[in-house]
């Protein structure tokens, strides 16, 4: 009964937080728009590069035709939009400027407001991005073999991908409690992500050892996996293993967050005093 009441309270909290952040996101729509240019440009550039390669080497590279790459990168563009966060910069700023104090005064964990912040910005940007991806689809003519079970499995895998990315980046953002220059850490993280999440190339084009590394680390499960899944490039067994890996990373990062958050807040109050 109490659990139910707590859940209800949390739902109302999200709804309210959602209205507040939605209003502020509408305010900063120019920044959102500019952020979106780079979100679109990076996959678009690699799409062009790889379809050029594919066209010049007999129409297919590692099982991808030019139109196959189009499907891969346009889907990646959308999945990336759904899963991205900016929480690492946000925390660096909050801790450095001391704004975290306000969040700590509230009787709920600050992660809830971060999640609803993230979701509400996407409600604004996602329709625009779908439109952009749709227009690009008219130009690049993607093809993929859709199967009903893959499309069905895409929904949980996308949700889990969002959770993995959000929780991993949220726990990485905690580094700001101990280190003043988190930018270097962030850049290492983004470089790894570029390769291991399948942004520079679909992971199946990489050498075997890099693919194994990608299976072990969380990056593939945030981005590449749902894309490969919905495009029908994975067997049912691979999909099940992938979903399990995603779930495992959610649990691992939740545990990490619980430990780090407590320790971090203790350090933070010491600095603020």
């Amino acid at each position: 009964m109490t659990a139910l009441r707590e859940l209800n309270a949390l739902m109302r909290l999200y709804a309210q937080q959602f209205r507040t952040t939605f209003a502020s996101m509408v305010q900063y729509r120019a920044s959102l728009f500019i952020w979106m240019i780079s979100q679109v440009l990076e996959p678009l550039v690699y799409l062009v590069v790889w379809s050029t390669v594919s066209n010049s080497s007999g129409g297919s590279v590692g099982g991808y035709t030019a139109r196959g790459f189009a499907a891969y990168y346009l889907t990646l563009m959308l999945v990336n939009q759904v899963t991205y966060t900016w929480i690492m910069w946000e925390y660096e700023y909050r801790v450095r400027q001391g704004f975290l104090s306000f969040a700590l005064l509230k009787p709920v964990h600050p992660i809830h407001s971060d999640i609803s912040d993230n979701l509400s910005s996407k409600i604004i940007t996602l329709p625009i991005l779908v439109f952009v991806a749709g227009s690009l689809a008219l130009i690049f003519r993607p093809t993929a073999e859709l199967t009903w079970w893959a499309v069905l499995a895409f929904i949980p895998s996308l949700t889990l991908a969002f959770l993995v990315r959000f929780l991993v980046e949220w726990s990485l953002a905690m580094a700001a409690f101990w280190i003043t220059r988190v930018n270097a850490i962030n850049q290492v993280y983004f470089t790894l992500m570029l390769f291991l999440a399948g942004r520079i190339a679909p992971l199946s084009l990489f050498p075997r050892w890099l693919q194994i590394t990608a299976d072990i680390l969380p990056f593939r499960w945030m981005l590449g996996f749902p894309v490969e899944l919905v495009l029908g490039r994975l067997t049912p067994t691979q999909v099940l293993i992938g979903l399990a890996a995603q779930a495992a990373w959610v649990i691992i990062s939740l545990v990490i967050i619980r430990v780090i958050w407590r320790a971090g807040v203790r350090v933070y109050s010491a600095v603020g005093a």
Binding site: A30, T52, G62, R181
Partner: protein, 261 residues
């Protein structure tokens, strides 16, 4: 002569300022190496599947990466810091201090902020470029070197003028930092030859945001694939854009009312 003397003075001041924060050097070194490593590893993946990319061999692509870092280094060394400072000073009125000095104000705002650690990008770019030329195994003739230097200068002038035009918009608009961000995020497309992009994107990267002039065209000059008409076009664009930038800057200054108004 005067310009060079001023540039040297501002450079010296920046060195004096920045040497107090020596850790920044290592942070920048680390980030630049990481970025370069990413670019090279990306090329390695792509060229493990193909011999040429849109007609460019791997060593020619390496030269393009060198130009990309070189030009990126110039942008973050002087252009970007100067122009962001200009926008800030128009907003809070501290441009007054620059205007009262007995030198050309456009020159002063353009060179008075130098992010010296960005020299690393510049040096790295030059290093990559030299490596690429050695690997290409051809002696770059006098004609190609001259063309390359001309195109690098033209590209630099075009990029600088473009930034100055955007920054000068701050005389009319309140928030233009965002516009500068657009260039920064479009610049990444310049790591690849613009000839591989579809027509509309190539057009946007040449004439809306002049990324092509900054990277592809100098690299084309160096690898001997630049036609004479393109050379003229780049010169024309550099002259036209710098004149336009000067004009917009002057018009903006006339609108500027200072801190106390």
């Amino acid at each position: 002569m005067n310009t060079i003397r001023l540039l040297f003075v501002f450079f010296r001041i920046s060195v004096l300022n920045e040497t107090a924060y020596r850790v920044n050097f290592f942070v920048q070194l680390f980030q630049s190496l990481l970025e370069l490593g990413t670019a090279l590893a990306g090329l390695a993946v792509i060229f493990s599947y193909t011999q040429t990319l849109g007609g460019w061999r791997s060593d020619e692509m390496l030269a393009l990466v060198g130009v990309y870092f070189l030009m990126g280094g110039i942008i973050s060394l002087v252009i970007q810091p100067g122009m962001s400072a200009l926008i800030d000073s128009v907003r809070d009125g501290t441009l007054d201090f620059t205007l009262t000095k007995p030198e050309d104000a456009q020159l002063l705002v353009s060179i008075q902020h130098i992010a010296i650690w960005s020299m690393l990008d510049l040096l790295m770019g030059a290093g990559v470029l030299v490596t690429a030329l050695i690997r290409l195994g051809k002696t770059v003739g006098f004609g190609e070197s001259a063309q390359f230097i001309c195109m690098l200068l033209a590209g630099g002038v075009i990029v600088y003028s473009f930034w100055l035009i955007l920054a000068s918009l701050s005389f009319w608009l309140v928030r233009v930092e965002n516009l500068l961000e657009i260039f920064q995020s479009m610049y990444q497309a310049g790591r690849w030859p613009v000839s591989i992009y579809p027509g509309w994107l190539r057009f946007a990267l040449s004439f809306i945001v002049p990324v092509a002039f900054a990277t592809t065209i100098p690299a084309e000059a160096l690898t001997g694939r630049l036609g004479f008409s393109m050379l003229l076009e780049a010169f024309g664009a550099a002259i036209l854009l710098s004149a336009a930038a000067r004009l917009i800057w002057r018009l903006g200054l006339r609108r500027y009312s200072g801190a106390s108004a």
